[in-house]
């Protein structure tokens, strides 16, 4: 298997695609948001059980490509049990890692596998969809145009 391909579809991504973590509807969720990527047709519903600034539980449902599913799965693992501030920091690390043109990895253990997606710019949205839904849930207001 060629190198680029190995980089994109690492075992960890294929694993999370086959058996995503926290792939469930959270009945006790107090925050629910849908996200959609019209390019791929990726769809997600993200559930948060958020109390006292703490992400006590998280779950997602949806369908999409392996990059999307693995990224959503990894994201839920990364923020579960974290405070909103911590989740914000993780989002920022992930976001910066995905958007800087430098080859640097996302400095957060398993998440680093996602930084390979950068070599495939048309797939970056697959990797970031779940994250942007999370971000909107914890930071509702942002002006896209002025970024």
């Amino acid at each position: 298997m060629c190198l680029d391909l190995q980089a994109l579809y690492q075992e960890i991504i294929l694993d999370h695609n086959r058996h995503p973590s926290n792939f469930k509807k959270l009945d006790q969720a107090n925050y629910v948001l849908e996200g959609y990527n019209p390019l791929c047709g990726d769809k997600i519903i993200l559930y948060l059980s958020l109390h006292n600034n703490l992400i006590q539980d998280i779950g997602f449902q949806g369908e999409g490509c392996a990059i999307f599913t693995a990224s959503a799965s990894l994201m839920t693992e990364a923020v579960k049990g974290k405070t909103v501030e911590e989740a914000r920091k993780i989002f920022k690390l992930f976001h910066d890692g995905m958007t800087t043109s430098k080859d640097n990895h996302i400095p957060f253990d398993k998440l680093s596998v996602l930084s390979n997606v950068k070599k495939f710019p048309m797939r970056v949205k697959c990797a970031t969809l779940a994250w942007h839904v999370l971000k909107t849930m914890i930071d509702p207001v942002s002006d896209d145009l002025d970024k």
Partner: protein, 412 residues
């Protein structure tokens, strides 16, 4: 008739991009339904235009502008001959299929619609042949009626017959599906529309490079297509309209060249068609490129090349049908060289990305045909579409990678 291998090699030599690479692998270009590649003859025609003839058209008296104008208007004649229109005045240059359909919606259909009138489209249409009609229906209170698609991906013609009635004002149907590859029986459908006094537009975007089109024989009222799907550049397309339809049409965009007289004390006096619908400076080099693409298609042995395309698609289908993890979307026998499929448990985008890394360019997604995706209950499909410059060994390479994908996702 056996295909001599060197005929295809010769044709491939005309397309410089086929010698380049994709992700550092030799390029295998299987996304011809999205856009076709450009032969050097067409590139040269446009470069020559910029180097020797570039000037604005129609209004200059000097030789440079005269040459530019004659080139531009000469292509109108070429298009006329290519689709067998009665007159070159029936050929209107637009940006592409999308603009052509919007132009007809705005300038022909809009003024005729009353609440309760009906427009018929089909479930397999491209968004560009759905959204303009939805917007128009929303504005006028007309209704959109939809011809369903059968399980094998053909139009249900009996349902079409039932939909046609005295309220049917307009029918808009694709000649060939960009997802299923199906060739629709448009001649019959045109006859049926006319029997109900409805006007009909044929979206020829996917047909124009693969089938011979004779608008007079078809008796099409409107026939539209894009240059970039027939070896010409993007940014140029054609709206063919019967004289009797064009002469009923209100202007589209207002501006220079579509006008005879402008004054603040009177309403503008419009030029006759085609000028009436070509406001402003058009895409002149694009028109020149379209003319060169037609010249190119006239100069190659097109029946040989089309036979080759048919063999490619037959071969690919015969192999795909035997792969248990591949499901074909669209199994009509009257088809062109487009194949849509889904791979068991693998999303189309992952299929496309893995092919991409192996140099193979295919399209994955909804192909601007979301209602059709709904119909077949898939979020997206993978699609390969062949041109005459593709080869059997490219298909073998593609099939090999498909097998790799199966292994990666299912049995690792």
């Amino acid at each position: 008739m056996e295909m001599k291998p060197n005929a295809i090699d010769l044709v491939r030599d005309d397309f410089p991009i086929l010698k380049t690479s994709n992700r550092n692998r030799p390029l295998v270009y299987f996304d011809n339904a999205a856009t076709t590649q450009i032969p050097s003859q067409v590139i040269k025609a446009m470069t020559d235009y910029y180097i020797y003839h570039n000037a604005n058209i129609h209004r200059g008296v000097y030789e440079l502008s005269e040459r530019s104008t004659l080139l531009y208007e000469g292509v109108r004649k070429k298009v006329q001959n290519f689709i067998h229109a009665k007159s070159d005045k029936e050929i209107i240059f637009v940006r592409g299929t999308t603009e052509a359909i919007n132009l007809v919606a705005h300038s022909f259909v809009r003024q005729q619609l009353k609440p309760g009138d009906e427009i018929i489209v089909s479930e397999m249409e491209h968004h560009s042949n759905i959204v303009p009609w939805q917007l128009l229906c929303q504005e006028t209170g007309a209704l959109l009626r939809v011809i369903p698609v059968t399980n094998i991906g053909e139009l249900a013609i009996d349902e079409y017959e039932k939909l046609l009635n005295a309220r049917t004002k307009f029918v808009a149907i694709m000649h060939v599906s960009n997802v299923l590859g199906t060739i629709n029986p448009i001649k019959q459908m045109i006859t049926l529309a006319h029997a109900h006094h409805a006007t009909i537009l044929i979206d020829g975007a996917q047909a124009i490079a693969h089938l011979s089109v004779n608008v007079q024989d078809l008796d099409a009222d409107f026939y539209v297509f894009s240059g970039h799907k027939m070896y010409a550049p993007t940014g140029i397309g054609v709206l063919y309209g019967k004289k009797k339809c064009l002469s009923k049409m209100t202007p589209y965009q207002g501006g220079g060249d579509m006008i005879e007289k402008v004054s603040f004390y009177a309403l503008p006096v419009f030029a006759d068609f085609p000028a009436k619908f070509e406001a402003g400076t058009p895409n002149i080099a694009g028109v020149v490129g379209l003319g060169a693409a037609i010249d190119y298609l006239m100069q190659v042995d097109l029946s040989l090349l089309r036979a080759h395309e048919n063999k490619l698609v037959d071969y690919a289908l015969s192999r795909l049908i035997n792969m248990s993890y591949v499901r074909l979307i669209g199994q009509s026998d009257t088809r062109i060289s487009i194949i849509s499929f889904v791979v068991d448990r693998v999303h189309a985008h992952d299929v496309a990305s893995i092919l991409d890394v192996n140099g193979i360019c295919i399209r994955a997604g909804h192909h601007c045909a979301m209602p059709l995706m709904e119909r077949f209950n898939v979020p997206a499909t993978a699609r390969v579409s062949f041109s005459f410059y593709n080869t059997f060994s490219e298909i073998d390479h593609f099939l090999l990678v498909l097998e790799q994908i199966r292994k990666m996702f299912l049995c690792v």
